[in-house]
């Protein structure tokens, strides 16, 4: 990866520049909102990226917890496989909500299982815990952007910065607070069980992600309706610009997460070495 880092950096920079041009210049101007609608090209991809990172944090936390006992780990593998199969079958047996394709539900089920086993393969041992820290931190950065760009769009469009009581807005704020609490716990707790407590908090915290995502599907909110699925629609050119921006943000998130991951690995090695040094000094005395 070290060798590919500069190349990936250049590709990401080019993608971000192109995505910025597409969002500010090439995308069509929305008829009622005007140019302020272009905030959407940063707001939505940031939210999707944050959700993906929090999902990875959820998977990594589960892996960290189940790996503590080999028997539980094996059972968890079967449960994940079972859930994936149940979702695939359920997608074709139970009628999905309006605007949702059966194949999309089935693919999501398979993707969840694939991500679970990919994380299991790529992040053995306590590397899953490192992945959890990294994805929570980078996810909070993207979620912060969502919470700031949202009101910057709402003020000229709605006439207010924030709609108190709106379930999408409130649940997103709660999600951000949960992960801030998670990072605070990791930073300031000196207990030997910090990683376990944080993993449990992450598993419960991640339950807020579907609530945030589906809140606009099932509740009447001030927040606009979904642009993909859920009966929503969008101009194809706008959708193209949105997806270009999301791809650019995914590349950027990957690069930042990789750098943060390396930093955490080195930090833990240094801490281990410092511990060893202190032990040797104590013994020498």
């Amino acid at each position: 990866m070290k060798r590919w880092f500069p190349i990936l950096g250049i590709v990401t920079l080019a993608l971000l520049s192109y995505a910025l041009y597409e969002a500010l210049v090439a995308a069509p101007t929305e008829r009622t909102m005007g140019d302020v609608q272009r905030i959407f090209y940063y707001h939505v991809p940031s939210a999707w990226t944050a959700f993906l990172l929090f999902f990875l944090n959820f998977v990594a936390s589960i892996q960290y917890l189940v790996r503590r006992k080999p028997g539980v780990d094996r059972i968890a593998n079967w449960i994940v496989l079972g859930i994936a199969v149940a979702i695939c079958i359920g997608a074709y047996v139970v009628p999905p909500p309006a605007g949702v394709e059966r194949s999309a539900v089935a693919t999501t089920g398979l993707a969840v299982a694939a991500i679970y086993f990919l994380v299991r393969k790529l992040f053995p041992g306590d590397r899953a815990d490192i992945l959890a820290v990294v994805t929570a931190e980078v996810g909070v950065v993207f979620c912060t952007i969502v919470l700031i760009t949202g009101p910057l769009w709402a003020r000229p469009v709605w006439g207010i910065w924030w709609a108190p009581g709106d379930i999408r807005l409130t649940s997103t704020l709660v999600l951000w607070l949960i992960y801030i609490a998670y990072l605070m716990l990791r930073k300031f707790s000196s207990s030997g069980n910090t990683a376990v407590i944080a993993a449990v908090l992450a598993v419960f915290g991640a339950l807020d992600v579907p609530l945030v995502y589906f809140s606009i599907w099932f509740f009447r909110t001030q927040h606009p309706q979904p642009v993909i699925g859920g009966g929503g629609s969008i101009d194809p050119r706008m959708m193209q610009v949105l997806l270009i921006n999301w791809v650019a943000f995914l590349f950027f998130a990957y690069l930042v997460s990789w750098s943060r991951y390396r930093l955490e690995v080195i930090k833990r090695e240094v801490e281990r070495a410092q511990g060893m040094q202190e032990l040797m000094e104590t013994r020498a005395r």
């Binding site: 910025l20 500010l24 905030i39 950065v141 912060t144 952007i145 910057l152 003020r155 750098s259 943060r260």
Partner: protein, 38 residues
Amino acid sequence: MNFLYAAYAVTWVIHIGYLTTLVRRYARLKKEIAELKK
């Protein structure tokens, strides 16, 4: 238009701010490694 530029500017200020903290943390770790090697 001001709100649009503010949103884009804030996004990049946050990202660059976070990248700066990463660089600082790397520098601090490098110092610690140098001290360990002494």
